[in-house]
């Protein structure tokens, strides 16, 4: 029943002859094309079994709960906002992946190599091109722009407490205006009519005037916090595919998210796990990634697909923040933010 048995028997307990399956635990958004995974099997002899474990936060928490007896060998999908929590709880063991030299040092946030950077993406404000064209108004570019009267009542953001792009945007403003400056900025945003909803889905599909769902729901916000990769995806999933993306990115409003993978403490197949981490930063996987998960590769030698080069944007100077600082400030900031914006 349910056809899930196959391949599982191979994953015997340790002690048995080297298992032929390596299990990758990840969040819901993980995707890889079949050919690429098949190539890994061909190279190493290991088959990959993927377990999706809820959204990113949920997935990390689960690994913490099952520390020592993990569900798999490798975990992929811990980002800089969650990294400290993962590292402090010791769910990973160090492994320096082969080919790490091709990854810029800026991405390598853990000097002990307990985690390996795999991809990066930027959380940025997106705008509805048609709206600004119709209004003959220049779309905003920077954080400061968003607080200007010209853009009053145009922006919808996600609640950082309940949504990861929401949190990214908050961290971006904090990085930009400083630990004690962002509150002022948000007061201005609030005065400028920022709207908050609970999830990306609601913001993007309901409130944002530039998306298909938003159009149907008569969404009236031409600015939304989303990803820098959203416009190319709009093209990819256009029906029919448009020549040009209907949305654009305000490149001065971005916060960089980097996702890492690591070898799990207590993995039953550490050999396979190591091989898999090597593979995740290989050119093949890195080039497959953008169209699967709509993120940017971290390996310098990985070429971006045409879709990204044509419709994507280059974010020159995204905001960033150290994971330790995020871990420390996240809760108090969210609380401050709530009383500032929601009340």
């Amino acid at each position: 029943a349910c056809g899930a048995e196959d391949g599982e028997k191979a994953a015997g307990p340790s002690g048995a002859p080297a298992p032929k399956t390596v299990t990758l635990v990840s969040h819901d958004s993980f995707n890889a094309s079949k050919e690429v995974l098949a190539a890994f099997t061909q190279q190493t002899g290991f088959t990959v079994k993927v377990l999706k474990s809820g959204d990113a936060g949920e997935a990390v928490n689960k690994e913490i709960l099952t520390k020592g007896a993990p569900q798999g060998d490798v975990f992929f999908g811990v980002d800089n906002t969650l990294l400290s929590r993962a590292l402090d709880n010791g769910i990973f063991v160090p492994y320096e992946a082969k080919g790490l030299d091709r990854v810029p040092a800026a991405y390598q946030l853990d000097k002990e190599h307990r985690v390996t950077p795999i991809d990066s993406g930027d959380i940025c404000v997106n705008y509805d091109k048609k709206y600004f064209a119709d209004k003959k108004l220049a779309p905003p570019v920077t954080f400061d722009d968003l607080a200007k009267p010209a853009y009053k009542d145009l922006l919808v953001v996600e609640n950082p407490e309940r949504s990861s792009p929401g949190l990214g945007f908050l961290l971006g403003t904090a990085a930009k205006y400083g630990d004690d400056g962002w509150q002022d900025y948000w007061s201005k945003l609030k005065a400028n009519g920022v709207k908050t909803v609970d999830s990306w889905e609601l913001a993007y599909n309901q409130e944002f005037s530039g998306s298909a769902g938003g159009k149907k729901a008569k969404g009236d916000r031409p600015l939304v916090v989303s990803y820098a990769s959203s416009p190319p995806v709009e093209v990819l999933y256009g029906e029919p595919q448009p020549k040009e993306a209907p949305t654009g990115v305000s490149t001065g409003t971005c916060f960089r998210q980097t996702e890492f993978a690591g070898l799990l403490n207590g993995a039953k197949n550490p050999e396979g796990g190591k091989a898999l981490i090597d593979f995740l930063i290989s050119k093949k996987f890195q080039e497959d990634m953008p169209l699967q998960m709509f993120v940017n590769p971290v390996a310098k030698d990985a070429a971006l697909p045409e879709l990204f080069t044509k419709h994507g944007v280059v974010v020159g100077k995204p905001e960033t923040m150290a994971p330790e600082k995020i871990a420390e400030k996240r809760d108090p900031w969210i609380q401050q933010w709530s009383s500032l914006v929601l009340k």
Partner: protein, 537 residues
């Protein structure tokens, strides 16, 4: 009795107790101090207060609107009744995300109300309450209607000739007889709405939050297991309190009733009053249920160049990025398979439990009865995390096994089965069983020959519930379902989580398919009911 107890101990009590213990005992020290601390925080008290009153209000509103519906379904005969009964159950399977969207189209900006009167209810508590009615209409119609259709109409006649008006006769005679099933329905609605998550999140904006959202936040976002455990204990206490109140009210009302075959109680509406009631119920169903669902259907056909089947066609072709390893249509098969297995588990476990609980016995049995209801009132995250830290050793390393999905779904299905069957089983006159015994039937045979035919209707209703619940279940499935066999709601959620018109359209199309699959399955189940009974007659 042993089987249901084992099932619950293993798949509910143990995981939940473990996760709570993990939260409450940090480095070997119990953190009881956190109770006082947590419970004195004003925002937590706000959450508690809101959770309770909105659940009570939702339950009251649902009963108010759905009881006339239960009457119409139980006592009137009209063409398309089976279809309509299936349709009102469809909301039950709908992923709440979709429902939120649909409701926003009704009560939100540019929605029906906005267009007609310029009224917007989104981010008000009314939107939440109405959506809760939408979700739980079928709970009342099915649980109460099941018993109602089998009540002897002559009881009401007896009241009428003693001078009671139609309404008075209903209130003084029928309602007390229905009390156990009304209480069961109210209990389920209360537990559902008290643990409402997505509806509150979507329709309430960021303003409202319930205990459930708070637990989710503490567990998943903040990873503060201690606070989560404290809140879970509060949830337990609250649910326990509700269960005690329920047991109290019901115990006094349970009486043996004269049950008749449901086929003989329904007839066409007669007279202006009955037609008006009938029309009113149809109207409320149309407004509350058909319209929101209709919005989703409409959107699944509305492409950028007029209406068409484009999104449905897209479901058949592989995803341009290859995201889904299987064509989206295969998710229907996955969903159905899970749902069937979950329904079977729920029926077996719930049926056994209901049979054991029929004979009103001591405190222990009552306690077990209450325990069976807990899964409805306990956060899915709590159970899910509990699974993870308990079912991790062979032979019970089920963490990555497909069986965990139907098991988790059955956990929600079992209370339905028990609560729909018990009011009927307990109303069966003991002397009918005695009649079977003196005719040579052993107790087991008597159960099969007397109780089973009488509860078969309730059983099928319960099966419908269990099926619908697992078809639409999301919370548990989403983190267990394997990527190569996602269920329909999981696929919908993944589609909605991405930008792009095609994703949005396909999500709508898939939701529409989910509705149709649900309605058709329930209709088939109804067919089963009429065919079997006509054999009996």
């Amino acid at each position: 009795m042993a089987a249901p107890v084992a099932f619950f101990a293993l798949f509910f009590a143990w995981p939940v107790v473990s996760i709570v213990e993990r939260g409450l005992r940090v480095d070997g020290a119990w953190q009881f101090g956190r109770f006082g601390e947590t419970l004195s925080r004003p925002e937590i008290l706000d959450v508690l207060w809101f959770t309770c009153w909105q659940a009570l209000a939702s339950t009251g509103l649902t009963l108010l609107i759905a009881l006339p519906g239960a009457y119409v379904f139980a006592r009137f005969d009209f063409p398309g009744k089976g279809l309509l009964r299936a349709v009102v159950t469809v909301p039950f399977v709908m992923p709440t995300v979709m429902v939120g969207t649909a409701f926003l189209a009704l009560v939100g900006r540019g929605g029906l109300l906005d267009g007609l009167w310029g009224v917007r209810l989104d981010t008000t508590v009314w939107a939440i309450l109405i959506a809760h009615v939408f979700f739980n209409y079928a709970v009342v119609v099915r649980t109460v209607g099941g018993l109602w259709a089998q009540l002897d109409p002559r009881q009401e006649e007896a009241a009428r000739v003693l001078g009671a008006s139609r309404w008075r006769a209903w209130r003084t005679v029928t309602l007390p007889a229905l009390a156990p099933s009304v209480a069961a329905a109210a209990l389920m609605v209360f537990l559902f709405t008290a643990s409402s998550f997505a509806v509150v999140q979507i329709l309430g904006g960021s303003t409202y939050s319930t205990l459930e959202t708070e637990i989710y936040r503490q567990t998943v976002v903040r990873f503060d297991l201690t606070t989560a455990a404290v809140l879970t204990m509060v949830q337990f206490a609250a649910v326990g309190l509700v269960l005690v109140v329920h047991a109290r009210t019901v115990r006094r009302r349970e009486t043996a009733l004269k049950l008749v075959a449901p086929e003989q109680t329904a007839r066409r509406p007669r007279g202006a009053g009955q037609w008006a009631l009938f029309a009113g119920v149809l109207l409320s169903v149309a407004l509350l249920i058909v319209l929101p669902l209709g919005v989703l259907v409409e959107r699944s056909f509305a492409t950028s160049h007029g209406y068409g089947f484009d999104y449905y066609r897209a479901l058949r072709t592989p995803d341009p990025s290859g995201t889904f390893l299987v064509p989206l249509l295969d998710t229907i098969g996955n969903s159905l398979r899970y749902a069937v297995v979950a329904t079977l588990i729920a029926l077996v476990v719930g049926g056994l439990a209901a049979a054991a609980l029929t004979r009103r016995a001591g405190r222990l049995v009552r306690g077990f009865d209450a325990l069976l209801m807990l899964p409805l009132g306990v956060s899915a995250v709590t159970v899910g995390f509990g699974f993870l830290i308990t079912l991790d050793e062979p032979p019970l390393d089920l963490r990555a096994s497909w069986i965990l999905v139907p098991l988790a779904q059955a956990l929600v299905g079992v209370p339905f089965v028990v609560r729909t069957m018990l009011p009927v089983l307990r109303a069966v006159d003991e002397r009918l069983r005695e009649a079977a015994a003196v005719l040579g039937a052993s107790p087991w045979r008597a159960w099969r020959e007397v109780d089973l035919p009488l509860v078969r209707r309730a059983l099928l209703i319960a099966a419908g519930f269990a099926f619908a619940v697992s078809l639409g279940e999301f919370g548990a499935t989403v983190f267990i379902a394997r990527p190569d066999s996602p269920t329909l709601p999981v696929a919908v959620a993944r589609l909605l989580g991405r930008p792009g018109e095609l994703n949005y359209g396909q999500a709508m199309a898939l939701s529409t398919i989910l509705m149709v699959v649900c309605a058709v399955s329930l209709l088939l189940l109804e067919r089963l009911r009429t065919e079997r009974t006509s054999g009996e007659f």
